[in-house]
């Protein structure tokens, strides 16, 4: 039975019709135009579907859209609404991503970390992205970039 719900997506209040069995990931991608979160494993293991729900990173593939009525969701597209932020610039500078499929999910995880812990240790960074699978890079340039950004922010 279709129901109309209201989600604030990337700062914008949007109404959308959903069935109870629509996942949040599907609704974001197919009904709300947010293609940034990806369908990777679609079972919560790979992290490509990560979004921020009321400020916390979540697996949008394991959430029913209808559960998020009234919530605030930020996807990769909305992380830095005024253009690429320092984290994204450093990722590009350091060639942190290759195919880039994991980038949206990892960037969401990294932003959550930096929002909560502006001076993470290397171990903190590894833990923060431990739920994101990357097949291309071996993770090192990604971890280095997140640490570099946190140090840059610190020295401001």
């Amino acid at each position: 039975m279709k129901r109309s719900i209201e989600i604030t997506l990337n700062g914008e209040k949007r109404a959308v019709e959903v069935e109870p069995n629509d996942t949040l990931l599907e609704v974001l991608r197919e009904k709300m135009g947010a293609k940034g979160p990806k369908v990777g494993c679609d079972r919560g293991d790979c992290g490509t579907c990560n979004v921020l729900l009321d400020g916390m990173s979540v697996r949008s593939c394991l959430i029913l859209a209808i559960e998020t009525d009234g919530s605030e969701i930020v996807s990769i597209e909305g992380l830095c609404p005024d253009g690429p932020g320092p984290l994204q610039d450093v990722f590009v500078k350091n060639n942190a991503f290759q195919c880039g499929f994991c980038a949206p999910g990892i960037t969401v995880s990294a932003m959550e970390l930096l929002n909560n812990n502006p001076e993470p240790t290397r171990e903190d960074v590894v833990e923060a992205i431990s739920g994101n699978l990357c097949r291309c890079t071996g993770y090192t340039p990604i971890i280095d970039s997140i640490l570099e950004v946190s140090k840059k922010e610190k020295s401001r």
Partner: protein, 296 residues
């Protein structure tokens, strides 16, 4: 279409309504909290509920409270909340340590301790610590409230003592008694994602040890023979630990599955038992390593 199965969704605003909805559809309705297990199961048609009852509107279930001798963890408390709770870090650090190794941050932000308990999977990370602490699971249903001891909770793989018409509302952990320290060690194939291949939870007080294993039997289980042999932390020595390790084969019954072989699990359980016991004893006398240190 990620989920082929169709169902109704309701979000009751009070516990009585949730219980009534569950009772109205015996066996055909399921409770939804974090959904990190449930949504995946529905996707695989592993379960096919006609009604999904979202209990996230029951805000009174989101609390961690200390009530005299009892630390009460509400059914909606997430693993992330457990990790951030000073009460949990200070009073029940064994449970805290187990929370830190559940999956990864995005899962811990949603997954609930109670949901993990209700999954009843033999490798659930909530099992060994709550067995070691002698916790109680509080269940509400059409016939009122009842309390189930953790040791009576797990009946078999994916089977718990909760009946289909009942909702778990809290877990109660006793925090009176002598000072305790613990150690939870989880072996997995890779970090941030995996279910335990073997896990061990050890609780030490001056009166002795509680030892519980996960992922090496049809349920998480206590190891009373091992506990008896270990004695008290003050007189712990290499010989007792070796004797305890020899008893592992009598206490656990691992199987071979996609994550590990029987032989590997048996082998690792003995190593982890030793590390868990030694670490819990060290922590009881105030020494390192800090909770959260990876020991395997």
């Amino acid at each position: 279409m990620a989920i082929a199965h169709e169902f109704e969704y309701i979000k009751p605003s009070c516990l009585a309504d949730a219980i009534e909805a569950l009772a109205r559809n015996p066996g055909k309705a399921t409770v939804l909290a974090g959904g990190t297990d449930l949504v995946g199961w529905i996707k695989e048609d592993f379960i096919t509920p006609e009604t999904v009852i979202d209990i996230k509107g029951l805000s009174q279930l989101r609390e961690i409270t200390l009530d005299g001798d009892t630390l009460r963890i509400g059914a909606l408390v997430t693993f992330n909340q457990l990790i951030e709770s000073q009460l949990v870090i200070q009073r029940i650090p064994l449970l805290w340590e187990s929370a830190t190794v559940v999956a990864c941050k995005p899962v811990r932000n949603r997954a609930t301790l109670v949901g993990n308990l209700c999954s009843g999977i033999p490798c659930c990370d909530s099992g060994p610590p709550l067995l070691a602490y002698g916790a109680t699971i509080v269940v509400d249903g059409p016939n009122g409230t009842r309390k189930i001891a953790a040791k009576d909770w797990f009946l078999g793989p994916r089977r718990t003592a909760r009946s289909a018409a009942e909702i778990v509302t809290a877990v109660e952990v006793p925090v009176s008694g002598p000072e305790s320290a613990g150690c939870y060690i989880k072996l997995g194939r890779y970090r941030g994602e995996d279910l335990a291949q073997v896990s061990v939870g050890v609780l030490a007080t001056k009166l002795g040890f509680r030892v519980a294993f996960g992922a090496v039997g049809s349920t998480p289980l206590l190891a009373p023979k091992i506990e008896a042999v270990l004695g008290v932390p003050d007189s712990l020595n290499e010989a007792k630990i070796r004797e305890a390790q020899e008893l592992v084969e009598e206490e656990i019954s691992p199987i071979t599955d996609v994550r590990a072989t029987l032989e590997y699990r048996m082998h690792m359980a003995k190593i982890m038992l030793k590390r868990g016991v030694e670490t819990a004893a060290k922590r009881l006398s105030g020494r390192c390593p800090a909770y959260g240190t990876r020991l395997i």
